[in-house]
């Protein structure tokens, strides 16, 4: 062997380091891929590797609902209404389902009822999974609503399952107006220091438009993303003023994403104006709407 022959061990080690470096670069490349490609990869993994775990969560969610129904039946049989009255979570869920049933009757077959599942992993706080999908007529961009208004929007659709974002997502935007049609603007999410401080803001309204606290804000239907008339929230106060030409307002949201368990998802060819489908909570006398049952 010559005096300058390479050391085989070191060469092998260098190859390993180069390989690991390439893998690190590959992972950085994933981070910078276009969003569409990232979504395609994510959907592929969800549909293959993670499918059994998502199905397990669906099973557990169903089991939880079934067990709660059995509890109600047993409680009725035993006449223990006092016990059920203390189970506020169950009462809230029942109220939500009853409200949804009422809404389903009004909207007809253009909206499908679905259960909301949360992945609960780091970075997925603003997304949810619903158990309806492409086969059911759900398409990308479909609005997701609760009994009291807009929760979010579907982002990706697969057979039997769809992934959506709620209004706490930084990309959430909705063209909106006051319920009386006097002022228009864009509703967007403003992130707080903590997630609990996320708020909705009605942005870009004209300075001189008369907007007072408590007025209902609904989707305007402009842009064709959301149908006209879905309640979003109520005016809570002025957020900011720019010169004497523009004002922004804080909104008290009608739907709190964290507590939404059952929703309706619009299917293809859903009507473009759904204003009559939501009853004004103040007119119906249910002043606690959007808070009592959702929170």
């Amino acid at each position: 062997m010559g005096p300058y022959a390479p050391e085989p061990e070191r060469t092998g080690r260098n190859r390993e380091i180069r390989f690991a470096f390439a893998i690190v670069l590959m992972s950085v490349g994933l981070f910078h891929l276009p969003q569409n490609t990232q979504q395609r990869i994510a959907l592929s993994v969800q549909a293959t590797v993670l499918r059994p775990f998502i199905a397990t969560q669906e099973l557990f969610a169903d089991a939880r609902v079934r067990s709660s129904q059995i509890q109600v039946l047993l409680s009725d049989l035993d006449s223990l209404t006092a016990v059920t009255s203390t189970q506020s979570a169950l009462i809230d869920e029942n109220r939500t389902l009853r409200d949804l049933l009422g809404l389903v009757e009004r909207v007809g077959p253009s909206y499908l009822s679905a259960s909301v599942l949360r992945p609960r992993t780091a970075g997925s706080e603003s997304m949810f999974i619903v158990d309806v999908g492409y086969d059911d007529g759900v398409r990308t961009g479909a609005p997701v609503v609760g009994p009291h208004g807009l929760l979010g929007q579907i982002r990706d659709v697969q057979p039997g399952i769809a992934v959506g974002i709620d209004w706490t997502h930084p990309d959430f935007r909705a063209s909106a107006m006051l319920a009386d049609g006097e002022a228009f603007g864009i509703v967007e999410n403003v992130r707080g220091v903590f997630r609990e401080q996320d708020q909705l803001m009605l942005n870009g309204t004209a300075y001189n438009e008369p907007v007072s606290e408590g007025m209902l804000v609904v989707t305007s239907g402009l842009g064709g993303v959301f149908p006209r008339g879905i309640p979003i929230g109520r005016i809570e106060g002025i957020a900011e003023e720019q010169g004497s030409w523009r004002k922004s307002y804080w909104l008290q949201p009608n739907v709190h994403p964290g507590s939404a368990t059952h929703v309706l998802v619009a299917v293809i060819n859903a009507p473009g104006d759904v204003a009559d489908m939501w009853l004004d909570p103040l007119e119906t006398g249910d002043e606690d709407v959007g808070r009592g049952s959702e929170s």
Partner: protein, 146 residues
């Protein structure tokens, strides 16, 4: 074993943070066993799977887990042996570094305050992972008859 168990606990049962980060523990264990190539590939795969549930910062977990896998494999050269104290520190440092890197990569608009997410929650999660990891190491030693 740890890979499916992680997703059963986190997604299937919906336990969230109350379940330990078994994916990171698995990666740290793998990194000590299979070397640099295997650890980097395992880190990338684990990261991609976890990223598939992340709409907000896709890729952040991939980069983080790959780097953690590589660093874990390097510890084989730096620290010989697998004493209990070393393994406890290894799991603790690995998990905390994973949370710290993820916090750095995920973007300013998405992350929570450093003190809250990395120092408070991160250190608690690292301690939790270290204890669970140690339990697993002891269990593995018992099974192997050491």
């Amino acid at each position: 074993m740890l890979f499916p168990l992680h997703f059963v606990l986190h997604i299937g049962f919906g336990l969230g943070r109350s379940a330990p980060d078994l994916l990171t523990i698995a990666l740290l264990l793998v990194a000590r066993e299979v070397g640099l190539r295997g650890a980097s590939v395992a880190g990338l795969l684990f990261g991609v799977v976890e990223d598939s549930l992340t709409v907000l910062a896709f890729g952040a977990n991939s980069v983080t887990m790959t780097v953690i896998g590589v660093l874990g494999a390097f510890t084989r050269d730096l620290f010989v042996g697998d004493s209990k104290l070393f393994m406890l520190s290894y799991f603790f440092a690995g998990k905390w570094m994973r949370d710290f890197l993820h916090w750095m990569i995920m973007g300013q608009e998405l992350r929570q305050p450093f003190v809250d997410q990395v120092l408070a929650q991160g250190l608690l999660a690292a301690l939790y992972a270290a204890l669970v990891g140690m339990g697993l190491v002891i269990l593995m030693d018992l099974v192997r008859g050491r």
